[in-house]
């Protein structure tokens, strides 16, 4: 595998594939940047590069596996995974195949749930765990019922962004200029969300809270308290843990 330097000094994305699940699933992994490896697990909408990840890639090699079923052209891969345990084992298999261990993980939204589940099952694998507005924990103070999934499309931006008029929000929902690409993009997005919903619908809680007692990357226990910072906008709060301090530290989205 190699990454070629682009004209602006950043590197291009390269793709690796690994076979998991007894060869039934081909997992595609997007790789970008140079430096120490870092694992990034994407949200329910699928894998996409943004300025946050590009910045990260300037001094890290970012490994971003695409969730099975969300890789274009391979939608049926989702049929092989039925529950969170399946996800954890499939990802562990993929990380072993990539030779990735002892590295930090950043998981965002649905990817935050996957990252937390992985860390709960294989605590020695990660040096740091960063969860950005993670799914997977039920907080009665912030009941979160996956509203965007069941909402009319024009109501979604206000559910995902504190300020749906901001540049980032407008960019996220801007359709591509070419109509057929726009349709392909919507199809890909809708199917990706449908795949994630298999593990989050109707409520994004599959028991992570009880499994988090085995979250012994250090001694501190991951729990709803770890992410009890004030939410930003409609999103869930975020938290990070590092082996060095063995502390969970809540933070708001602005800090990322």
């Amino acid at each position: 595998m190699s990454s070629e330097a682009a004209a602006d000094g950043t590197t291009e994305v390269s793709f690796r594939t690994v076979q998991v699940w007894d060869g039934k699933i081909t997992m595609r992994v997007q790789v970008k940047g140079s430096g120490d490896p870092i694992l990034y697990l994407h949200p329910a909408g699928g894998m996409g590069w943004d300025s946050f990840l590009d910045d990260l890639a300037t001094d890290h090699t970012v490994y971003a596996p695409e969730f099975p079923g969300m890789t274009p052209g391979m939608p049926e891969a989702i049929n092989h995974l039925d529950d969170v345990f399946d996800i954890v084992l499939a990802y562990d298999e993929a990380l072993c195949a990539l030779g990735l261990s002892g590295l930090p993980v950043i998981g965002q939204s649905f990817g935050g749930m996957v990252a937390a589940e992985l860390a709960a099952s294989f605590p020695a694998r990660f040096t740091e765990v960063v969860l950005l507005d993670p799914a997977g924990l039920w907080m009665s103070t912030h009941p979160y019922a996956l509203d965007p999934l069941a909402a009319p499309p024009d109501a979604v931006p206000a559910m995902l962004f504190h300020d749906p008029g901001c540049a980032g929000a407008r960019a996220m929902f801007a359709p591509p200029p070419d109509p057929e690409s726009a349709v392909d993009g919507i199809v890909q997005l809708v199917w990706a969300i449908g795949c994630a919903a298999k593990f989050m619908w109707p409520l994004p809680d599959r028991g992570l809270e009880s499994r988090s007692s085995s979250f012994r990357v250090g001694k501190s226990r991951f729990s709803t308290r770890s992410i009890s910072a004030s939410p930003v906008g409609a999103s869930l709060p975020s938290a990070s843990w590092s082996a060095q301090s063995d502390q969970w530290r809540p933070f708001g989205i602005g800090e990322t």
Partner: protein, 428 residues
């Protein structure tokens, strides 16, 4: 021709301006703000009376449907009203079939309860049950009942298989499914009709469902929530019959059923005067007030099919429909007896459907007016529809034997010889 009266338990008394509490007819309508409990009670009493009235007037069957969290059909389990109807008709000696258009199996977490309840209905009715198995609409199966949309279809298929085995296996068997596990399935009772009641699958026309109906020799009922049947239904029936021919199956019209909203008055003008506002109520506040995102959810439609849907473009924004537009657009079939007969005959012959499933209580239509529409239909329309496809009457294997049908074909029973042999552990 077999003609079925469909009853839904609609709340008929919303005010003209129902406000934000009724911004949609499903999932979120505000019960306490909108209803008078005595009028809910009235909807059930009137609905059950109308079912009996339709049976007495001469309909071949009476059907009920399943919808939860819903204003246009307060029917979380249609077996309840079907049971009341089954007993009442049995005591009166009415030879009317009872079609439960469906326990929705993409939603059900208790498929064995469905198998047992249908069996009970079959016994109460003395073998007059026609068993329906739809997948269920997204708002009900996925939103109300929390089934991940990507699982609806697989859950449906497993539930259907389990029900058929539970009905037809002679010995207890273990079921190790993905969604249900039972150490020993041995339901009491088994159905009265042997090997099982006739089966009808209702669908908006997904090719998967058409294929399933044909492969398993089930009846197929096309349901639409409005629109011109020549645009919405015709391609589905064309595809159905092309598929049947490609599979080398017979083209018996009793395989297929067309459903429509119907009202009959003495003249076309009188129909508009009597029923206009009630149809407008139904399409404005009831069935027509289901937003698109309640009907399709992420994961439910495969990427290729979704692309097809999106390339066809989004449905146009619909203003509150007027009676004349509904009539001209083909969403409803209303008028004097000749008008109604002519349209229904045209649809039945064009689509080659030996069954018609007709909603005659629509929206806010009051009780006495509904009965009058039923009487006019049965007196002046039904007799002229009956002879259509009569040459197939002795080959209707989608109808209870007690009522003149013939026994279902072997193909309706479960998937393979190993299942019939009672192999323990039919898992996936």
């Amino acid at each position: 021709m077999k003609v079925t009266y469909i009853q839904q338990f609609t709340y008929r008394d919303f005010p003209d301006e129902a406000g934000d509490g009724l911004s949609e007819s499903v999932v979120t309508p505000s019960y306490h703000e909108l209803v008078d409990p005595q009028k809910v009670r009235g909807a059930f009493r009137n609905g059950l009376d109308e079912m009996l009235h339709a049976a007495r007037a001469g309909f071949d069957a009476v059907a009920v449907t399943e919808h939860s969290h819903c204003t246009y059909d307060m029917s979380p389990n249609p077996d309840l009203t079907a049971a009341a109807f089954a007993y009442a008709t049995e005591t009166e000696g009415l030879e009317t079939a009872i079609t439960v258009l469906g326990r929705t199996l993409g939603k059900s977490r208790e498929p064995l309860r469905v198998a047992e309840e249908y069996s009970v209905l079959d016994h109460i009715s003395g073998g007059r049950l026609i068993a329906g198995f739809p997948v269920g609409l997204a708002y009900d199966a996925n939103v109300n009942w929390g089934v991940p949309p990507i699982d609806s279809r697989a859950r449906y298929e497993e539930n259907l298989e389990l029900i058929f085995r539970a009905w037809t296996e002679r010995q207890p068997f273990a079921w190790n499914g993905k969604y249900a596990q039972h150490p020993g399935v041995n339901i009491w009772p088994r159905p009265l009709q042997g090997p099982h009641p006739p089966v009808m699958i209702s669908s908006i026309g997904s090719p998967n469902t058409l294929r399933l109906a044909l492969e398993r020799d089930f009846g197929f009922n096309f349901v639409s929530i409005g629109g011109d049947p020549m645009v919405a239904a015709k391609p589905v029936f064309d595809q159905f019959w092309e598929m049947a021919a490609a599979m080398d199956l017979d083209d018996n019209p009793y395989r297929a059923c067309f459903a429509g909203f119907v009202a009959v008055a003495d003249t076309d003008a009188e129909a508009e005067r009597l029923y206009g506002k009630h149809f407008e109520y139904h399409f404005g506040k009831g069935i027509g007030n289901i937003p698109f995102h309640r009907l399709v959810m992420p994961g439910q439609v495969q990427p290729a099919a979704l692309k097809q849907m999106l390339m066809a473009g989004p449905p146009p924004p619909a203003p509150p429909p007027r009676y004349r537009d509904l009539l001209a657009g083909g969403s409803i079939i209303a008028g004097g007896p000749d008008t109604v007969r002519e349209k229904l005959e045209h649809y039945a012959r064009t689509f080659r459907t030996g069954n018609l499933n007709l909603f005659l209580q629509v929206g806010s239509t009051p009780h006495e007016l509904t009965k009058s529409s039923i009487d006019l239909f049965c007196g002046k329309v039904l007799p002229k529809l009956r002879p259509i496809f009569a040459e197939y009457d002795d080959r209707n294997r989608w109808w209870p034997v007690r009522l003149g049908g013939v026994a279902p074909s072997d193909r309706q029973a479960p998937a393979g010889p190993s299942l019939r042999a009672g192999v323990v552990g039919a898992g996936r």
